[in-house]
């Protein structure tokens, strides 16, 4: 009790010095409060985005690894993904849902593909078409129509994203008759096709085997001609067809080179990616397949927030290190000034532990008062500081994007599909002060007390009372 009383007397009698220590701790607390609030709220928003947008995992061939190993072992062969494999991988506790798609490119004799080149005016003296081989009628292995079969049609991304919608009939399901097909409205209109009509398809390289498909649905899709490199007919959304997996399996049986199967898995928790990867490897996924996820895509709009969140953490570390050094130096000077007092207390029997405890208690009281004021001030300042930082960050992206546009010749440049515009970025981060942050701040204050108190410990342990008093006398 007397130690507390003595500590209080000392706090009161050294107002100037203690006020300086208090201000330093308060500044550190305010900065830490702002930094921690931004970091916590930013990370929370990022986590919430990750949770809202399920982590999508896919497998793709690791071409680098293939090239490296192929040069060493010419007999190397990579086992293809099969529907059975995918179902096996999808049957995991980490997976909330999965699907796979088969794709094939076929041609037809009784219907004509929508040719995008016909829509555009040809330049004069253009004879490119004369030089290019015809892409119809089986002269190229690329067919006119792209056929896709979903293991679970509810995952059809054109429809889930709203880029496509059924205008007549219904979307294909695997419960439909196996020869059902859904075609585009443009294709239907070009060929006077209706629900119930039948179309005949064949592999471009094998015209002997044909497949009769019955139209059960017609969809309308947004024009995506900008994605269609060289206007390849089958890549046009107008020539897209959806069929059942049963039909697709029949078609693929006659393929010289079976087309790829693509799979996507949705994880229950984004943190389970590593565990899921380990599990699929254990279940036999070839090392030549790499496991990729869409985290970057999900978090693209949060880039400025991620940046200020990371910056705030760096800032916190810097301010803590600098603050701790300043406090340690001030406390060292403080303890040297109080050498005589320490000598007297030790000479009349106060133990080293109690002297150290009193010195640390004084710091603790100052730090606690500064912590309360600093936390309150930090709470008030967090939101405006965050808004300003975020605004600056987005402005810097805006300038960067503007520069990129100018490099491409001006405002007409839209950029690639994933090119972010300033309006795409999340420009609002609501900062809140949570109990966890307050506890962390309290931890920061205590850390500062311990660091600066450490100077007291070293000093009091080093000197004997007799020496202190003799030197003074």
């Amino acid at each position: 009790m007397y130690i507390l009383k003595n500590a209080w007397i000392n706090i009161k009698r050294n107002k100037g010095r203690n006020l300086l220590i208090g201000i330093i701790i308060m500044v550190i607390t305010i900065s830490s409060c702002v930094a921690l609030s931004i970091n916590t709220s930013g990370n929370k928003l990022i986590e919430s985005y990750k949770n809202q947008n399920q982590l999508e995992v896919s497998f793709s061939l690791d071409m680098g690894k293939l090239r490296d190993n192929n040069s060493e072992d010419e007999t190397m062969g990579v086992e293809r993904l099969t529907a059975e494999n995918i179902e096996n991988y999808g049957n995991s506790t980490y997976v909330s849902g999965y699907y796979y798609t088969y794709e094939a490119s076929l041609s037809s004799e009784n219907i004509e593909a929508v040719d995008m080149s016909e829509i555009f005016k040809k330049p004069e003296n253009d004879n490119i078409d004369d030089k290019m081989p015809e892409n119809n009628h089986g002269k190229m292995s690329q067919g006119d129509f792209r056929l896709t079969a979903y293991s679970d049609v509810t995952y059809a991304d054109s429809f889930t994203s709203g880029k496509a919608k059924i205008t007549s009939g219904s979307m294909i399901t695997n419960d439909d008759e196996s020869n059902s097909v859904v075609i585009s409205r443009d294709l239907a209109e070009n060929n006077d096709l209706e629900i119930g009509d039948t179309i005949t398809l064949y592999w471009p390289e094998n015209t002997d085997i044909t497949y009769e498909l019955k139209i059960t649905g017609i969809f309308e899709a947004e024009d995506n001609s900008t994605d269609n490199f060289m206007n390849m007919t089958a890549l046009s959304v107008q020539n897209q067809m959806y069929i059942t997996t049963t039909m697709m399996n029949q078609i693929l049986e006659n393929a010289d080179n079976p087309n790829n199967i693509n799979a996507k898995f949705y994880l229950k928790n984004a943190d389970d990616l590593e565990k899921f990867t380990a599990e699929v490897r254990e279940k036999g996924l070839s090392e030549y397949y790499q496991v990729s996820d869409n985290t970057e895509e999900i978090l693209a709009t949060l880039k400025p927030i991620q940046n200020i969140s990371n910056f705030s953490l760096t800032f916190l570390i810097v301010i803590l290190v600098v603050g701790a050094i300043i406090l340690a130096v001030i406390n060292m000077i403080n303890i040297r000034d109080r050498k005589y007092e320490i000598g007297v207390l030790r000479s009349i029997g106060m133990s080293k532990t109690k002297v150290i405890f009193q010195l640390i208690l004084e710091l603790f009281v100052i730090a606690f008062a500064s912590f309360i004021i600093g936390t309150a001030a930090g709470y008030i300042l967090s939101q405006p500081v965050t808004n300003k930082m975020l605004e600056n960050e987005i402005n810097s992206y805006q300038e960067e994007n503007q520069q990129t546009r100018e490099n491409f010749g001006g405002k007409n440049f839209k950029g690639p599909e994933n090119f972010m515009t300033t309006t795409d970025y999340i420009d609002n981060l609501t900062v809140s002060l949570e109990l966890g942050t307050v506890l962390k701040l309290f931890g920061v204050s205590m850390l500062l007390v311990i660091i600066s108190g450490g100077v007291a410990v070293i000093f009091v342990t080093k000197y004997e009372p007799n020496k202190i008093l003799q030197n003074r006398n």
Binding site: E341, G343, V344, S347, I348, G349, S351, N473
Partner: protein, 219 residues
């Protein structure tokens, strides 16, 4: 009964030259002892050893037959021995009364009314209530030394060690302070050991020891 014994005590600061060499002394309660010698004779070092401010390097210092080197010297200083310094060594930011009470607190005294008791000690050494509540630096040298004695008495130790207690005082005050020590020894049965080179002190003490170049000379 001997309360404090020094047996073949040697002490050096630099491990080359002994400041104290083969010191053998014994002290009893109820007596006032004087240790005299010229400057540099080792008087203050001897007091530091007896007060537990320095650790005995060679030989034995026994307090009630217990080896001081094996005792908790902090405890010893705030329970068994009261120290009076030449330069008082009081805390200037406290009042006279607070200095005495602090000493009681450090010793762990459980007395409920420490202030009344501290005031009684201060009165005993000639400090009245009005002066007791004044800050140390507003008191004269003699008054500060009285407060220092009161602080040394605060936890009722058996031994009072005084290092040149009258070195900074005028003759009249010196006599008054020495009277207090005499009373403490003869009336209160304390063992009072005064380190000094003052002739006035020598006249007041019961037993005199001379220290010359770190060795005790027969008186």
């Amino acid at each position: 009964m001997k309360i404090l014994k020094l047996k073949h005590v040697n002490f050096t600061y630099d491990h080359e030259k002994y400041v104290l060499e083969d010191i053998n002394l014994e002290f009893k309660p109820g007596k006032i002892y004087g240790v005299f010698g010229r400057s540099g004779a080792g008087k203050s070092t001897l007091l530091s050893l007896m007060a537990g401010l320095e650790k005995c390097q060679e030989g034995l210092i026994l307090y009630n037959d217990k080896d001081l080197a094996k005792m908790n010297r902090d405890y010893y200083r705030c329970h068994n021995v009261g120290i009076v310094f030449q330069s008082y060594n009081l805390l200037p930011y406290l009042t006279a009364l607070e200095n005495v009470v602090l000493s009681m607190d450090i010793s762990g005294l459980k007395d409920k009314d420490k202030e009344t008791k501290a005031l009684a000690y201060l009165n005993k050494v000639g400090i009245d209530a009005s002066k007791a509540n004044r800050k140390i630096l507003t008191l004269s040298g003699g008054e500060q030394q009285r407060v220092s004695i009161a602080r040394a008495l605060a936890y009722n130790p058996e031994i009072i060690l005084a290092d040149e207690p009258t070195g900074n005082l005028d003759k009249e005050t010196e006599a008054e302070i020495l009277d207090i020590f005499t009373t403490l020894a003869h009336k209160d049965k304390k063992c009072v050991i005064i380190i000094s080179h003052s002739k006035n002190v020598k006249d007041k003490v019961d037993i005199v020891h001379y220290l010359k170049k770190g060795k005790i000379e027969l008186s």
